[in-house]
């Protein structure tokens, strides 16, 4: 195995990478990074013997890492494991991770967002109810206002753990879940046709007959059309267009015109 093997998990998924290292009977540390997250998996004689990811370690850490959709890896051969927390063969670990992924998907269907609002059902699902102590902590926090994210924060657990507990309570028929209400976007006043008329004249003075096209392209770059460009994006549009004006004198005159228009509009 080459020294310091590195690569992208998007190109070589972790499962394939581990199978490759296992087939080669490798010893060493597989360092993984994804954004700000870092993790290590240790191999000895091709077997995974230890994994660390944040505050998690052992199988729990390993199962989280297998779910990483992307990131980078670096394999450092001959690094001894600091601990031995995993004893299962790789195939069993993969089977476990597939099961966990299935559970995650099932939970995601029931609780698609951390903005989901849990509420206690009015009627008990049966004559007697038995729940785990950990789930009771969740019930105690349900007040009709706390979202899944808020409950996770109050409990001091990560999103996955909070969702898992809520999922169990939902399956037990103790809570119902309300999808988050979409907050309507505030109405932004539009720049309007008069502004575009004045803008076209100013751009034409600086850049000539292609003014209309330049304006449309600049608006599109900002994600708008003439009909949808809000007034608060006018300054950004003017700045973008001014960047197209190579002649310094013309650019400054254009900017002066735009600033005067913006001040007037304000």
């Amino acid at each position: 195995m080459p020294e310091g093997l590195t690569g992208s998990l998007a190109q070589l998924p972790l499962t394939d990478l581990l199978r490759m290292l296992a087939a080669g009977g490798q010893n060493g540390r597989l360092e993984l990074t994804s954004g700000l997250d870092t993790a290590d998996i240790y191999l000895a004689g091709g077997a995974v013997v230890h994994a660390e990811s944040g505050s998690h370690w052992g199988e729990q850490a390993f199962l989280r890492l297998v779910a990483w959709p992307n990131g980078h890896f670096r394999f450092e051969p001959a690094v001894p494991p600091p601990d031995r927390t995993i004893e299962k063969p790789l195939d069993v670990l993969f089977a476990d991770s597939a099961r966990v992924a299935g559970e995650r998907e099932a939970m995601r269907r029931v609780i698609p967002s951390m903005d989901t609002l849990p509420r206690l059902v009015r009627k008990a699902p049966g004559p007697s109810v038995i729940i785990e102590a950990a789930d009771w902590e969740v019930l105690a926090l349900i007040d009709g206002e706390a979202t899944a994210a808020g409950i996770a924060a109050d409990l001091g657990v990560d999103d996955f753990e909070a969702v898992r507990r809520l999922y169990r309570l939902r399956l037990a028929g103790l809570i119902e879940l309300t999808a988050p209400q979409a907050v309507p976007a505030p109405v932004r006043p539009l720049a309007g046709p008069q502004f575009f008329q004045a803008l076209t004249a100013a751009v034409a003075a600086a850049l000539g007959p292609l003014a209309e096209i330049i304006i449309d392209d600049a608006a599109e770059d900002l994600g708008f059309t003439r009909a949808t460009l809000p007034r608060d994006a006018v300054a950004s549009l003017a700045e973008r267009i001014s960047g197209e004006i190579r002649d310094t004198g013309k650019r400054v005159r254009f900017q002066q015109t735009m600033l005067a228009m913006l001040r007037q509009a304000a």
Binding site: A238, E239, S242, G249, R251, V252, Q255
Partner: protein
């Protein structure tokens, strides 16, 4: 030059502006000054060093925007000096940048402004001398220089 700075201060959300030479000394500032002179000098020196470091690292930049929780700072390099604009966080930076361009364009055409800038002319490289930097900064500068060359 003071009059031009007033144009920038007229942009909603702008607290004030100032111009520092390549030693970090204040050439002109809006009235009332937006910061204490010693603070403006410090910002002038530190940002001047940042421009030198970016240049040495092969990352030519003429504008740096610093975003903090309570305020924003635009630093616009004009060669012999750096123009600073202090703004509130929600200020339209597009308007600020265009205003800065207009002001700088005006100074370029203004002989009096050019003479004033010439009087303050200094090489920015003096900001990164061994004597001007502490040990850590000097070591960092040596690394940047070695990678850029």
């Amino acid at each position: 030059m003071e009059k031009e700075l007033e144009q920038i201060s007229a942009v909603p959300g702008v607290g004030g502006s100032f111009l520092c030479d390549n030693r970090g000394d204040v050439i002109v500032s809006s009235d009332p000054a937006v910061l204490a002179t010693v603070t403006m000098n410090t910002i002038g020196r530190e940002v001047g060093r940042a421009f030198v470091a970016l240049d040495a690292a092969g990352q030519l930049a003429s504008r740096i925007e610093f975003v903090y929780d309570g305020w924003r700072l635009l630093a616009q390099d004009i060669g012999d000096a750096v123009l600073f604009v202090v703004c509130q966080p929600d200020t339209s930076m597009a308007m600020v940048r265009m205003s800065a361009d207009v002001v700088i364009g005006g100074w370029r055409r203004d002989n009096a402004a050019q003479k004033r800038l010439q009087r303050h002319r200094a090489e920015r490289s003096s900001l990164v001398s061994r004597a001007a930097l502490d040990q850590g900064s000097w070591s960092s500068w040596a690394i940047i220089q070695s990678r850029g060359s």
